[in-house]
């Protein structure tokens, strides 16, 4: 259901919030209880994920197909099509859930729509071909929480993602939304007690550093000054991480609620959400949520009838990774070049426009409502001794089940990759998992049985970062992976300090030479020396951590560096300057399959005669290699 902003009721107190919740619940009852009475004659809810991932695999066509088909059958009044946010299992998109039957359908195409209506909507039977099939038993699985991908997860933060319409504030309220805010406001004369609750939870910053959130808030709260700001860092720039995007797209009110409570505890009057412009859907959903929250009195003047007032503004980033660094981010909000400044002064004392400022990322803020509503002890009951709660990981790379997974801290990397992620794609051999983005490191096979938390990862030479996990297999060259990260940090270096500006360029030159077969003795030692110096002397976190991908791959995969330098060989057959494709004329039957696949017309030959590759035009994309498999006449060396 979509609301006109003008029609939303302004709530004057916590009782009105509770009453509204009780009015909305019957509408959503069939999602929780299959026997529930239909509300307003709506017998079914079809929940379709239209998050960025699913949308690009065609989810919007599915929504349209349903609307068309239901209208043509005169069923549009009894079946509600609900657009939801991320369900996490992006590999299987487009996907949907049908209530009250609770059937989970994956990899949909528009022509599947009439089958779903005939079988499930009319006859309450599943459509077997659209169900998820267990990889080992090949048995179809009807309900999503029985699928291995979900079974081991602990979705306390993502509880609403994929279960509510993110554009409908009423659905959020029905699932206890803004109840934590009402609770916090009832104790607003004892904000120290609320802060204590956050400290007790043991929540640590989910953006990478892992600084205890309660302590960070305390610093800003105690800082002298009447004007204070809070910031939500939604500039999720780590390539390979998309949990913040999914949260903003799937449950935007949770983020707002967390920030409002944060503002109350810290004593701030205004908050900023700094979100990447590359996330248009997230910006749209947040803007909509903000307008709804203002209209209903969760934001703005006199929140829920109290004397507490708080405002939130959305600022779109303009494309600069370094703006994820908090001092750079604040300069960007101020409208300047986003360059970091030296600390101290710390933002808690002098931040945005010189005022005390507290900055946390999306996942951190979104954890706050749960902590206030259910207590710090509840949150601390999950996780390890020093890392409490859950963490959302983005599983990507050469893994079977790409998507988002929320697990309790302390699960081993092996469980995350194999039990949830389904292991490595195409039965290839696992080589490593890269964690923490361009500032992080990689863990080889020998290290994936350790429990994952902030401290164990640092010990292993990696870091939590924002939680992007990129699995790489035997075909990935670790030198090229390090080169990839360095290209990224070199491009994104703001250029203010010399160690980062010149140092990353220098390290990248050396790495590029190595991947081109021009590496020489002494390169490895020079890389290590540069890395040490940059770590010690760069101005901000981006520069200081930029050597990590090199140091970590050098620790675990030094042999690959040596093979490139001394044998001019890329063991993973990845580096294009060290490989070549050629056609064995004795084996080639001249079928032309490779010629057809070649995107740059580098293959020549007449039908039924042996073909040949023109090496001067070949871009070594490997398309011909894949096309020829049957005859095995094309070789890679």
């Amino acid at each position: 259901m979509n609301h006109n902003i003008e029609d939303l009721p302004r709530l004057a107190n916590a009782q009105e919030l509770e009453a509204l919740k009780n009015r909305v619940l019957p509408r959503l009852a069939i999602r929780k209880n299959p026997q529930a009475q239909p509300y307003n004659d709506i017998t079914h809810h079809i929940m379709i994920c239209c998050d960025t991932g699913c949308a690009s695999s065609g989810a919007k066509d599915i929504v349209e197909a349903f609307q068309k088909e239901l209208t043509s059958r005169n069923m549009e009044k009894s079946v509600e099509v609900v657009v939801i946010g991320c369900h996490g299992f992006c590999e299987m998109g487009p996907l949907l859930v049908v209530y009250p039957d609770d059937f989970y359908y994956i990899r949909l195409r528009p022509d599947d729509v009439s089958d779903i209506i005939d079988e499930t909507i009319i006859n309450h039977r599943p459509v077997p071909k659209l169900l998820y099939h267990d990889r080992e038993t090949l048995r179809p699985i009807v309900r999503y929480n029985e699928i291995g991908f979900y079974a081991k997860q602990n979705r306390i933060l993502l509880a609403n993602c994929g279960h509510i319409n993110p554009e409908d504030v009423f659905e959020y309220i029905a699932y206890d939304g803004y109840k934590a805010l009402a609770k916090a406001l009832s104790q607003k004369d004892d904000t120290a007690g609320l802060l204590e609750e956050v400290k007790k939870s043991g929540l640590r910053g989910r953006g990478g550093g892992g600084f205890p959130t309660g302590r960070k808030w305390e610093l800003c709260r105690q800082a002298p000054g009447d004007t204070k700001y809070i910031i939500c860092n939604a500039d999720e720039g780590d390539p390979g991480a998309f949990m913040d995007r999914s949260l903003m797209e799937g449950d935007p009110h949770r983020l707002l609620e967390g920030m409002i409570i944060g503002g109350l505890i810290i004593g701030a009057q205004e908050g900023y959400i700094y979100v990447r412009a590359e996330y248009p859907t997230a910006v749209k959903r947040l803007t909509n949520a903000l307008a709804q929250a203002e209209a209903m009195g969760f934001l703005g003047e006199n929140i829920l009838g109290t004397d507490f007032s708080f405002h939130i503004h959305i600022k779109e980033g303009a494309g600069a990774f370094v703006c994820g660094e908090e001092t750079a981010l604040m300069r960007s909000i101020e409208g300047q070049r986003g360059m970091p400044t030296a600390r101290p002064p710390f933002p808690a004392i002098s931040g945005l426009w010189g005022q005390p400022t507290n900055n946390n990322n999306v996942e951190t803020w979104a954890n706050v409502p749960g902590i206030i509503l259910r207590g710090g002890d509840w949150f601390a009951s999950f996780g390890t001794e020093k890392s409490k709660g859950t963490k959302v990981f983005a599983l990507t790379g050469k893994i079977r089940n790409t998507g988002l997974a929320e697990v309790s801290m302390g699960m081993t990397m092996r469980e995350i990759i194999y039990d949830i992620g389904g292991g490595v794609q195409n039965n290839k051999k696992f080589k490593a998992v890269q964690i923490g983005g361009p500032s992080g490191g990689c863990l080889p096979e020998s290290m994936i049985d350790r429990p994952v938390d902030y401290d164990s990862l640092i010990e292993a030479g990696a870091m939590m970062g924002s939680g992007g996990l990129v699995v790489v297999d035997e075909d990935t060259c670790m030198v090229a992976l390090a080169q990839f990260f360095l290209t990224f940090t070199r491009d994104e270096s703001c250029g203010k300090c010399t160690p980062c500006r010149e140092g990353t360029t220098r390290m990248l030159n050396i790495l590029t030479n190595i991947t081109k077969g021009k590496g020489k003795a002494g390169d490895i030692e020079l890389l290590e020396e540069l890395a040490r110096n940059i770590k010690l002397s760069a101005l901000c976190g981006l520069g200081q951590t930029s050597p990590n991908p090199i140091l970590s791959t050098l620790t675990h995969f030094r042999d690959e560096y040596k093979a490139h330098i001394y044998e001019k060989r890329c063991p993973a057959h990845h580096c294009v300057d060290l490989i070549a494709y050629w056609i064995d004329p004795d084996r080639c039957v001249g079928c032309g399959a490779c010629k057809k696949k070649c995107p740059v017309q580098a293959i020549d030959g007449s039908p039924k005669k042996p073909h040949a590759i023109d090496v001067s035009r070949c871009v070594k994309c490997g398309a011909c290699f894949g096309a020829c498999r049957k005859n095995q006449a094309i070789f890679k060396k």
Binding site: T52, G53, A55, S56, S57, C90, E91, G93, G237, D238, P239, G240, A241, F242, R245, A277, E278, Y279, P280, K315, G317, A318, G319, A320, F321, I333, E334, G335, Q336, R337, G338, W353, T396, G397, K398, T402, G403, Q434, G437, G468, V470, V471, V472, T476, L481, F484, F488, E492, C494, V576, K597, P599, V600, R617, V619, K620, C621, G622, A623, A627
Partner: protein, 163 residues
């Protein structure tokens, strides 16, 4: 600013007025939103537009030029009819996005940042589109194309050429 060579022609600068109006009340920190809105309007940021913004915000043009060139979103030159953004994120990298970029470069005959001579396509790279589950990915205009293979590129480009 003589290094910027953009097509000269009569630009309708009055289109900037509503933008100034919208951001007038947000005087603090509104330079980036103003530039974003102006680029949305003109497709890029022509010199005359930057000069007008400098005049109206009483900021030196050097400062505005500094901001424009700092952020990758801002463009000083017009783009082709279709904009291709090839994702270079980690997930795409390990699923061979470099091959996708090579294929795009050789079939379009341009390097990232360049526009084809027929003004059909501008090729750009982007650090991460956040659609990692579909890696390797590229965006053409606002449509994402996932699970790419080099041989699929020609097909996709043809589709847009005909559009």
């Amino acid at each position: 600013m003589s290094s910027i060579s953009a097509p000269t022609g009569a630009l309708d600068l009055t289109k900037l007025e509503p933008i100034f109006e919208t951001y007038k009340k947000l005087a603090r920190g509104s330079l980036i939103p103003v530039l974003q809105a102006a680029q949305e309007e003109y497709g890029y940021l022509p010199t005359t537009v930057l000069e007008t913004i400098a005049e109206r915000t009483s900021a030196p043009i050097s400062q505005i030029y500094g901001v424009v060139t700092f952020y990758s979103q801002f463009r000083l030159l017009p783009r082709g009819r279709h904009v291709i953004r090839a994702c270079q994120g980690t997930a795409c990298h390990v699923r061979s996005s470099s091959m996708i970029l090579e294929t795009l470069k050789s079939s379009l005959g341009v390097t990232p940042g360049g526009t084809t001579t027929d003004q059909q396509f501008t090729l750009e790279t982007v650090a991460c589109l956040g659609a990692c589950s579909l890696a390797p990915v590229m965006m053409v205009d606002n449509e994402a194309h996932g699970r790419l293979r080099p041989d699929k590129i020609l097909e996709i480009l043809d589709k847009y050429r005909r559009k």
